[in-house]
C-alpha cells in the first residue's frame, strides 16, 4: 500500500533534528526505514513528519574505545557485520547482526534503528540487553546514557523521550574466558525469530563462572533469563547445564501468534538456551 501523507524534514545537524522532533510529538525519526516504512505502508503508523537523520555524519561509524565498542546509531547492519572493531570487540553483535533479515535489508537497516524500534522480535535488542549495552541519547537538553535494562519499556516502546534521538550504543567488551552464541529459530530464511537466545558465558577451570542470556520474542520486550543465569553459576558442563536451562522461560509472558503459542515458545526458549549456552561454553 501507499503510506498516508506526511511531511519530510532533512535536518542539517543533530541539534536541528532534536528541535524538529521536540516541536512535534507526532514526528518520527527516519533512519534506514526498514522497520518504519513497512509500518507506514501497512498503515499501522501515521507520523506527521519524518525527520530523516540518514545523512548526519555524526551518527555513523564504529569506534574502539578501550573497554567498550561504540556503534553509531546510523551504522548499517552491513557495516556492523564488516567492521573489524565489532568482530574483535563484541563478536556476538557481529554474529547476531549477520542473521538480521536479509542482505538487501542489512544494506539499509541500522543498528540504532532496530534498537529504537524496540521490537521484542528483533534480534539486536536481546543481544544488547545480554551484553549490558548502554544506549546514548541526545536532545536539546544534552546527552544521557540509558542502560539497556531500562531502555526497552514495552512492545515497540523505548525509554526515548519526544525530542530525543539515539546517537549510538556502548557495548562493553567481554574479557578473556568468555564465549558467546546467538541461536535463532525461524520458519523461513529471512523471517523474524519465533524465539531467539543470545548467550555469553564465562568459564574458568572448566566451570561456568558467569552467564548472560537475552531472550528474543519471549514477552513485550527483550528479557534476561535471570533464573538460568543464576542456576548456571559454578556449574560444570554436562547435565547440570541442561537442568539450569530448564529455567529459561521462567518469568516470561511469550506472545501467541500465527507461528507459535506461548507454551511452544517456552519450550523453544528452554531448548535454544541450552544450545546457545553449550555453544557459548565451547561444547556445541
Amino acid at each position: 500500500m501507499i503510506p498516508a501523507q506526511f511531511d519530510y524534514a532533512r535536518p542539517a545537524s543533530l541539534d536541528e533534528a532534536c528541535q524538529a522532533l521536540a516541536s512535534d510529538e507526532d514526528a518520527k525519526v527516519l533512519a534506514g526505514g526498514q522497520s518504519l516504512l513497512p509500518l507506514l505502508r501497512m498503515r499501522l503508523a501515521y507520523p506527521s513528519t519524518l525527520v530523516d537523520v540518514g545523512r548526519l555524519p555524526d551518527l555513523k561509524g564504529v569506534h574502539d574505545r578501550g573497554d567498550h565498542v561504540f556503534i553509531g546509531a546510523m551504522t548499517t547492519h552491513d557495516e556492523v557485520v564488516r567492521s573489524g572493531v565489532v568482530t574483535a570487540g563484541c563478536p556476538l553483535v557481529a554474529l547476531a547482526t549477520a542473521m538480521v533479515a536479509d542482505r538487501a535489508i542489512r544494506h539499509r537497516g541500522t543498528f540504532g534503528g532496530s534498537l529504537a524500534h524496540a521490537d521484542p522480535a528483533g534480534d539486536l535488542p536481546a543481544v544488547v540487553l545480554a551484553l549490558d549495552g548502554v544506549l546514548v541519547a541526545r536532545s536539546a537538553g544534552g546527552e544521557r546514557e540509558i542502560p539497556a535494562a531500562d531502555f526497552f519499556v514495552d512492545y515497540l516502546e523505548s525509554a526515548l523521550e519526544p525530542g530525543e534521538i539515539l546517537t549510538g550504543v556502548k557495548i562493553p567488551k567481554l574479557g578473556a574466558g568468555w564465549g558467546f552464541h546467538y541461536e535463532k529459530f525461524h520458519r523461513t530464511a529471512q523471517s523474524w525469530a519465533i524465539v531467539g537466545v543470545a548467550a555469553a558465558v564465562k568459564r574458568s577451570n572448566g566451570a561456568i563462572t558467569e552467564a548472560r542470556i537475552g531472550l528474543t520474542n519471549m514477552g513485550e520486550k527483550p528479557l534476561r533469563a535471570r533464573a538460568t543465569e543464576s542456576a548456571l553459576r559454578g556449574v560444570e558442563l554436562g547435565d547440570q547445564v541442561r537442568l539450569a536451562c530448564e529455567e529459561a522461560a521462567a518469568d516470561t509472558s511469550p506472545p501467541a501468534d500465527l507461528h507459535a503459542q506461548p507454551d511452544y515458545r517456552r519450550h523453544l526458549a528452554r531448548v535454544l538456551t541450552h544450545r546457545a549456552v553449550r555453544t557459548a561454553a565451547g561444547s556445541p
Binding site: 503510506p3 498516508a4 511531511d7 542482505r103
Partner: protein, 160 residues
Amino acid sequence: MPRITVTVDGITYEEDVEPRLLLVHLLRDRLGKTGTPVGCDTSNCGACTVMLDGKSVKSCSVLAVQADGGDVVTIEGLGADGSMHPMQRAFHEEHALQCGYCTPGMVMAAIDLLRDDPDPSEETIREGLEGNLCRCTGYCNIVSAVRRGAQEMGQAVSKQ
C-alpha cells in the same frame, strides 16, 4: 514538495516528489522503468530489488527522497547495446524462471552477491538470495544460473 536528483540506469532525473513516494513507484510510474515489479509490498519477497549506490536494496522499502543524490541501477540498466548482461543470459540458459515475476530481483540480488564472492558455492548462493522469494520454486535452476552467470562474468575461478 521536495525536489530530488537521482540517476537511474545512467540518466539523471530531477523530480518533484511527495515525501511518501516509494522508490519503486518513482521508477515505475514516473520514469517508466516497469522492469522492476512490485511483489509483496511488505519487503519480504525481493522482487523489487535494485542497486542503490552499488548495493542491493528493496525499492519498496526506500523512499524516493532517501534516494536523493543516489545512483540507481535497475534490471533495465544491466545490458548494453541491446544485449543481455551475462547474469540475465545465464538465467535464460539455465531456465531459471517460470512465471518470471521474481527474476529482476533475483538477477539484481545475484549480481550484488558477487561483490563479496565472485565464485559463490551453492550454499553461499542460497544464503545470499534468502531475501528473494520464487513462488514457482525454481530455486535449483536459479542457483545453477547464478553459478553460471558468475563464471561467465569472468570473475570466477572454478571450484569444481
